[in-house]
């Protein structure tokens, strides 16, 4: 318990009026990181639940770990190393800088804003900081990671008031920023998925040729070229089980995203309206390649930016899946439709909720009238 004593000893220095009182929120951030706070809410509503933001966020991080590990192994595998440990080690070394840069940039900005506004430091960035490296190409230049993270945290989150107030998913905003600002580095033939080896990701090859070069099993396990997060559908499903079992993510959204994607996938498979190469591929391919599964499990279910009402969640999820497939098939310029469709539906989520609530009010008004 030496650490507890040490924390208690330096606490007055950082408290209001102390010598380093201006670093109050930084200190508190680290203290609550180490120990469960022993203070209670003084006024307002009391919710007696051990499930605070910290625990929710750490569950999401845990759910992301299988995807990250398989993704790291895959980086080595794509580089030509087949033995498990060396391949994993190669991928680990390759991707660690991206993860560090994303965390350092984002946390520095979060701390600075919390300090300036005298807020507590929120844990929201724990997840965002891990999501960003997972959705970027593996050896994306580090300055792009830093710039996109800074953009996402400042413009996407802090200007709206910080964690819990953002309209758009910050990690996707970071990717969207990088994608539109530095398109050549982010997509197409020149994207590196392993050191020195360039080529299009599985989804982009599928989009340009319409033929799957990998077996369905490889795509499912995640032995296809692509960013860390998008390759392994199997590991993503494992993460989904963790999220659903702990009740952190909404099963309604997850299920409806897959339903929407499959519905439109089958529509294009059997009807075929566009003359792009990807039109007419088996519908389930859409779920296996690219960021579809990753987006459905980890990004569309973000509790802050998704719809809040239960009916709204079904509509929101279905539209995310359907739009993602629609963009992939109709517009070959944007192979990764998942990013755009989630961001678009993020913007529409409050509107969906509004209409769901209004309809409920109207329905109940009618009930009252009938009773009278």
């Amino acid at each position: 318990m030496g650490l507890r004593k040490f924390v208690d000893k330096i606490k007055p220095t950082f408290s209001e009026g102390g010598k380093l009182g201006f670093l109050h929120s930084t200190f508190e951030g680290f203290e609550t990181f180490l120990y469960v706070p022993n203070t209670t809410t003084k006024r307002g509503a009391h919710v007696r639940d051990c499930n605070d933001i910290k625990r929710v966020m750490i569950v999401v991080v845990l759910a992301l770990i299988p995807t990250m590990l398989v993704g790291m192994y895959n980086v080595g595998y794509q580089h030509g190393i087949t033995a498990i440990l060396p391949a994993f080690w190669y991928g680990f070394v390759e991707t660690l800088p991206t993860i560090i840069v994303s965390y350092v940039t984002g946390l520095a900005i979060e701390f600075a804003f919390a300090q300036k506004r005298k807020h507590e430091i929120n844990e929201g960035f724990l997840v965002t900081g891990l999501l960003i490296p997972l959705v970027m190409p593996v050896t994306v230049p580090l300055w792009i990671v830093a710039l996109s993270t800074a953009f996402a945290v400042i413009i996407g989150k802090e200007v709206f008031g910080g964690t819990g107030m953002n309209v758009f998913n910050p990690a996707l905003l970071a990717r969207a920023f990088a994608f539109f600002a530095y398109t050549p580095q982010m997509s197409g033939e020149a994207v590196w998925y392993a050191d020195g080896k360039t080529g299009a990701t599985a989804l982009e090859q599928l989009a340009s040729t319409g033929e799957m070069q990998w077996s369905v099993m490889d795509a499912f396990i995640g032995l296809i070229p692509g960013s860390l997060g998008e390759t392994s559908t199997a590991a993503i499903l494992l993460g989904a089980v963790i999220l659903l079992f702990t009740g952190v993510a909404s099963w309604r959204i997850m299920l409806s995203v897959f339903l929407g994607g499959l519905a439109f996938g089958y529509l294009f498979e059997f009807v075929g309206v566009a003359d792009t190469a990807i039109d007419g591929i088996p519908a389930y391919y859409h779920l296996l390649v690219g960021g579809f599964a990753f987006g459905a499990v980890f990004m569309a279910t973000d509790p802050v930016t998704s719809a809040q009402t239960n009916t709204g969640k079904w509509i929101y999820g279905f539209m995310v899946g359907a739009l993602a497939v629609l963009i992939r098939v109709i517009n070959p310029a944007y192979p990764e439709g998942m990013m755009l469709s989630i961001l678009f539906m993020n913007a529409l989520a409050p509107l969906i909720d509004y209409f769901v609530v209004e309809r409920n009010i109207a329905r109940r008004k009618k009930l009252i009238k009938n009773v009278k």
């Binding site: 413009i155 200007v159 920023f177 539109f180 600002a181 530095y182 398109t183 580095q185």
Partner: protein
């Protein structure tokens, strides 16, 4: 109102773009490069100043029920003059600005100043007011275009500035959404300096 305050007020404390949030559409459209942004800003300044002057001269003999149509005639005439001058002497810029010169007619700042100021004030005051509002608009346009051209193309007025340092162009800067974000950031800075503008 004192003349000097009449002139400085629209430049900062009551800027038409970042305080009244007027003329945003053209601010998004013409600020990709500095040169068209500057020309656009000066054109609006010209139209704004002279429409204010003319309407102020007409204000006493003008029946109130036909004032809108008279304003439109005056503003449209001035815009056509600007458009023809640009086509004659600055054809390239005129082509880049395309429809946006013609759309100065619908710029909320021009009509707003005529309605709100020129119809109730003396000609010289009105002229200064129009000039200052146009310059306030031009200033924001040039500021936005400065960031967009510098970070989007690595140049300023077409001269290579950043590319020689191995700068990679940020293509997002060339898209209109980024202009909106830059204007938002300018408003952010402006409001944190002028505390009285912050809503409770």
């Amino acid at each position: 109102m004192k003349l000097s305050k009449n002139f400085t007020n629209p430049l900062a404390a009551n800027n038409p773009v970042i305080v009244q949030i007027l003329g945003i559409c053209s601010a998004l459209a013409v600020t990709v490069k500095l040169e068209p942004a500057l020309v656009m800003g000066l054109s609006v300044t010209f139209v704004c100043a002279f429409s204010n002057l003319i309407m102020s001269l007409l204000r006493n003999g003008l029946p109130s029920r036909i004032r809108i149509i008279v304003q439109l005639v005056v503003i449209a005439t001035l815009v056509i003059v600007v458009d023809q001058v640009l086509r004659a002497y600055m054809y390239d810029v005129s082509k880049q600005l395309s429809v946006y010169v013609g759309l100065i007619i619908t710029n909320c700042i021009v009509m707003g100043r005529v309605e709100a100021f020129a119809l109730g004030n003396k000609p010289w005051d009105s002229f200064v007011d129009g000039l200052a509002n146009g310059l306030g608009y031009a200033f924001i346009l040039v500021l936005v275009a400065f960031f967009r051209e510098l970070f989007g193309s690595g140049t300023l007025f077409g001269f290579d500035v950043l590319a020689r340092f191995g700068y990679t162009n940020n293509a997002l800067m060339l898209f209109p959404p980024m202009a909106l974000i830059i204007i938002g950031c300018i408003i952010w800075v402006h409001r944190s300096i002028n505390k009285d503008l912050q809503e409770k």
